[in-house]
């Protein structure tokens, strides 16, 4: 088995969706006040039996699933600097059995891998915290997951790559009748290691809250710079992971059960992509917000 090829493919699929969640969570130009924080325990998952090809068309694949139970945290180290972390405490990657509909025999055995996932750890610095806050974030993707698991070594809960993301956010809050509303735009650069192409990222978010309810809609994208290490291809490994791209939409809603506790629901889907899963992802979580 060509493990590097498998790793690249899996890396792409997992990373993109993980980043989808990350981008949802890390949005905004606001930073936390010193000593306050937002902490969320959430379950995120996607199950897909089709994917976008290198031409952006949809082809089937054996059903695969990725389930992450994660802790997300934003904690104000000062009034300017917020510590951010996304820790997949338990990550499960599965692949279904392939079974003959004629004989009922298993043609290819499925598999599952359980471990901790890749941890994102970063710092956000807020330049301006008025009605139009601006922030810059340095996010480090730590290769703490398992990049080569399962019997066939084709399952992953991490990518084995240390990447660094530098991101700028600018937001604007405003009022629409009784709705507290905000808009956020961001762009970022992901410097990837292990010979993978760097990425340009951008996204827009519109959110609003009313009484105990809040929600937001995001459109975000990753564009590959296609500048990966050419020796990867020369070593008979796939280069597509260096060129993967997607555009996605995400919707997230939250309900504040008490002043500090609440529930959140999320949905995300890549409506355009190359070499990524063509299936929605979902999240559900409970959060604790000490800034309120």
């Amino acid at each position: 088995m060509d493990n590097l090829k498998i790793r690249l493919m899996k890396k792409t699929l997992i990373i993109l969706f993980t980043l989808g969640v990350t981008q949802m969570a890390f949005a905004g130009g606001w930073v936390k006040s010193k000593g306050t924080g937002y902490y969320k325990l959430y379950q995120w998952w996607t199950v897909f039996d089709q994917h976008y090809t290198d031409q952006g068309l949809i082809d089937p694949n054996v059903t695969m699933g990725l389930y992450n139970t994660s802790l997300y945290a934003e904690h104000g180290l000062s009034d300017r600097i917020t510590l951010q972390a996304n820790i997949p405490l338990f990550s499960r990657n599965i692949m279904n059995n392939l079974v003959s509909s004629n004989t009922g025999n298993i043609l290819a055995e499925g598999d599952a891998l359980n471990s901790i996932g890749d941890i994102d750890l970063g710092f956000k610095y807020g330049f301006n915290q008025s009605k139009t806050p601006i922030a810059v974030t340095l996010m480090l993707g730590l290769p703490t997951g398992n990049e080569l698991g399962g019997i066939m070594e084709n399952l992953q809960t991490g990518d084995g790559e240390f990447n660094q993301i530098l991101r700028f956010d600018i937001s604007r809050s405003f009022q629409i009748k009784k709705l507290n509303t905000y808009f956020n735009a961001y762009s970022g650069f992901n410097n990837r290691s292990e010979g993978f192409s760097d990425e340009f990222r951008y996204g827009f978010e519109l959110g609003s809250s009313f009484n105990k309810y809040s929600g937001n809609v995001k459109v975000f994208a990753v564009e590959s710079l296609k500048n990966g290490d050419s020796t990867i291809g020369a070593n008979s490994t796939s280069v597509f992971a260096n060129n993967s791209e997607f555009s996605a939409v995400a919707i997230e809603g939250a309900y504040a059960v008490t002043d500090k506790f609440g529930l959140s629901l999320g949905f995300s889907y890549a409506f355009r992509g190359e070499i990524i899963a063509a299936a929605p992802s979902y999240s559900i979580g409970v959060f604790f917000d000490t800034s309120k």
């Binding site: 082809d59 694949n61 509909s101 597509f240």
Partner: protein, 222 residues
Amino acid sequence: MKYFILIISGTIFLASCVKDDFIDDRVDPVLRISNAPDTIAIDTLYQFQYTYRNNIGIEEEIDVNWSSSNDAIFSIDQNGLCTPQGIGSAYVKIDAVTNELVDSALVHIGNETVIPTTERTGSLNTTTFYTLEGDFVLREDGDNLILEFAENYEASSSLPGLYVYLTNNPNTTSGAYEIGAVSVFSGEHSYSISGVDINEYDYILYFCAPFNVKVGDGQFEN
């Protein structure tokens, strides 16, 4: 709140079990005379053999009938043993007792036995949106086989874990012979294959191994 978390966690835990994906791996059964000679020497007996593959491409033994189109040229018993009777040409025929499958071959009776050199050809076709095309030839090279792809061969390099197989069921790699990982994505190249009879498999199969997904195939045309 805690009941909510328990219910959600339990539901997701159960949903994350490894389940079954079903594929239709049916193929048309095949009955074939597997060692038809060009010519049989008139003073020798010749043992014909057959191959039968069922509706999932697995080889099986079945009840068959052997017959000659002209008993004056050669006769054949129900075990496939051929006895030449005179110089000339006739068809040997095999038909399955339990179904309508038949096969036949023209056989000459002459002064010496001649086994034809076999060269099998075909063309690749993609079954996905990934590029896969090109002509191929399978030929004998001593005890080995050589699988050669022509200059018009092209395969997508975007696929992870792309492998090439010989198989009798192009829907699955189950029971297939793994030739190896694909490392050439365009132009002429070849693979050396050992321990395989040239008529043992009917398809070339390209498969994305990590995702158990068929990418394309090519059936031998002869």
